[in-house]
């Protein structure tokens, strides 16, 4: 190929866009160490006081606890259902496979707001008491498509003859699933679980419409942002950014190592 005069411009543009994507996150982190109680740029001094205040805030502990309960339950349900669905579609979908997968992915094409209010009308119709359970049901709807997508992508590289060999050796369907399919899917399971956890842990809109009196962490951030911002918000926000980033890295590494392994 000839030398490419466009490449440096595209490279520079990409760097600029990455800056645009990351700079705002760094701004939040920067403000979390601001000594002044007013979020004014440039920041003055350096302090960890807001983080200390955060750890002492008991209302926050409860919200964090609720968020963890919801996220863990969501991960358990949506990973189990999603992996099952992906394997099921892959194995038995046949010519309906495409249609089945499209149906499973539709919640991705519906704004979170609509998922939330549709559930609220549904709960209203059946006079359901709103609680963390009603929140979890909604979060599973939201995360299930992501699990199915990640698992299906991994299954594309799956050699069906491995399952057939196990079948010939006399293993039953569930034994095959446990001993052959699941180990192959492990990296996808890890990635999907981390993704569902993060999506659920950070979700505010679906929670907003489906929760009763229980507050979650994003709900607390939301009300802080609407009714008086305190510098503590910067610290919570920074901590969630760091946690999500770490989860993303682990998920990515898990999938990538598996890919290298299977092409070897």
């Amino acid at each position: 190929m000839r030398r490419d005069p466009v490449k440096p411009f595209l490279a520079a543009w990409t760097v600029l866009v990455l800056l645009f994507l990351f700079a705002p996150l760094f701004v939040v982190a920067l403000f979390s160490f601001n000594e002044s109680a007013i979020s004014r740029f440039p920041i003055r001094g350096f302090t960890l006081a807001w983080y200390q205040k955060l750890f002492a805030n008991t209302a926050l502990h409860e919200a964090l606890w609720n968020s963890l309960i919801v996220a863990i339950a969501t991960v358990a349900i949506s990973t189990a259902l999603g992996i099952g669905a992906a394997v099921g579609i892959h194995r038995y979908g046949g010519r309906y496979g495409g249609a089945l997968r499209s149906f499973s992915l539709t919640p991705m094409m519906v704004p979170r707001l609509i998922i939330g209010i549709a559930l609220l009308t549904f709960y209203n119709l059946f006079q359901t008491n709103l609680s963390l359970l009603t929140v979890i049901a909604g979060h599973v709807v939201m995360t299930l498509p992501y699990v199915i997508l990640i698992a299906s992508a991994r299954l594309v590289g799956f050699d069906k003859s491995m399952e057939e060999a196990a079948w010939d050796l006399g293993a039953g369907t569930f034994t095959i699933f446990r001993e052959v399919t699941l180990p192959f899917l492990k990296p996808a399971v890890i990635a999907a679980a981390l993704m569902s956890f993060t999506l659920s842990f950070d979700e505010v809109v679906v929670t907003f419409f489906t929760t009763g009196n229980d507050n979650t962490l994003p709900m607390m951030i939301w009300s802080m942002l609407r009714f008086g911002i305190t510098p503590e918000v910067n610290s919570i926000a920074t901590l969630t950014i760091v946690a999500s980033g770490a989860f993303a890295l682990v998920a990515e590494m898990s999938l990538r190592r598996a890919q290298v392994g299977s092409t070897r």
Binding site: L10, A11, T14, P24, L25, P111, L120, V140, T240, A248
Partner: protein
């Protein structure tokens, strides 16, 4: 392998059942509610078209039009900004490709609420941009329209949803067979011509999917316009949410949500139909 009905059901039925109960049924309930009405703070189940007639009024049509306009701005900006990035990642780098791709994906994992908030710190009168410009003496007093404006909502939505556009576009651009490009070269097509008549048409499916991934959540945005929008830049998401709050107008809110879904489905149908690769297909 001959599966029994039982095993097929356990794999396929459980997830489908969950989606049916907590997604399909709620959507159907919403349709039902949109034809009901509220009397004395009670939802009354009798058939009426009043909710839809109410939407036809100037006020709500105006909000819908503004929402569509902002969503189009967000989508077009995301495409213009994101296309070169997707193109660069897919066809121009080799060594740092996976790292760069990871960097594009990484922000998607962080909370959209936090990313929205970041723009309050950047665009506010005390924020990064205004204070920096004042410090270097370019402006005397803070620019007030940076925050609480359509501008703020647009830039934050681009920031939040653009990576969703880059990913499908990247996938499509990466699959383009190099021999097709070589053929275009051999036939004497220049750089620009090759791009316009080969690469661009072939990437149409990626453009269509990517644009939908930005347009749809922008249309239904609620958190971002609520926190960054001005009093004159209300989007439909906020109006819908209000109906499910103290207003307790579930039927009217449901009707608004259905009109929104109608617009979204129509857009999706059109762009997926015209988003097929042309010319070389």
């Amino acid at each position: 392998m001959r599966p029994t009905i039982g095993t097929v059901l356990s794999f396929l039925a459980a997830p489908k059942l969950w989606l049916f109960v907590f997604f399909v049924l709620p959507m159907m309930t919403m349709v039902l509610y949109s034809f009901w009405r509220v009397a004395d703070y009670q939802i009354v189940a009798d058939f009426t078209l009043r909710n839809y007639e109410k939407i036809g009024g100037n006020l709500y049509v105006g909000v819908f039009l503004r929402t569509i306009r902002i969503s189009i701005y967000v989508t077009v900006l995301s495409l213009l900004i994101g296309y070169p990035v997707a193109y660069f990642l897919a066809r121009k780098v080799r060594r740092f490709k996976l790292t760069l791709l990871l960097l594009v994906i990484l922000p998607l994992w962080t909370s959209y609420l936090v990313r929205t908030y970041a723009w309050m710190l950047i665009l506010g009168t005390q924020g990064v941009i205004n204070q920096s410009l004042m410090a270097v003496g370019l402006i005397e007093e803070p620019i007030s329209w940076l925050l609480y404006s359509d501008f703020a909502v647009t830039i934050a939505l681009v920031h939040i949803y653009m990576p969703y556009l880059i990913l499908p576009l990247y996938a499509v651009l990466e699959k383009i067979n190099p021999s097709i490009l070589e053929a275009a070269w051999d036939l004497g097509g220049g750089r620009i011509r090759t791009f316009l008549s080969v690469i661009l048409p072939l990437s149409l499916p990626g453009i269509a999917t990517g644009c939908l991934f930005v347009f749809i959540p922008s249309m239904g945005a609620f958190v971002t316009p609520e926190l960054l929008g001005g009093t004159r830049s209300i989007m439909i998401g906020s109006i819908i949410a209000q109906q499910f709050g103290v207003a307790y107008e579930y039927p009217f809110g449901s009707a608004l949500a259905l009109v929104l879904m109608g617009i979204i489905f129509a857009t999706a149908a059109i762009s997926l139909r015209y988003g097929k690769p042309k010319g070389l297909a």
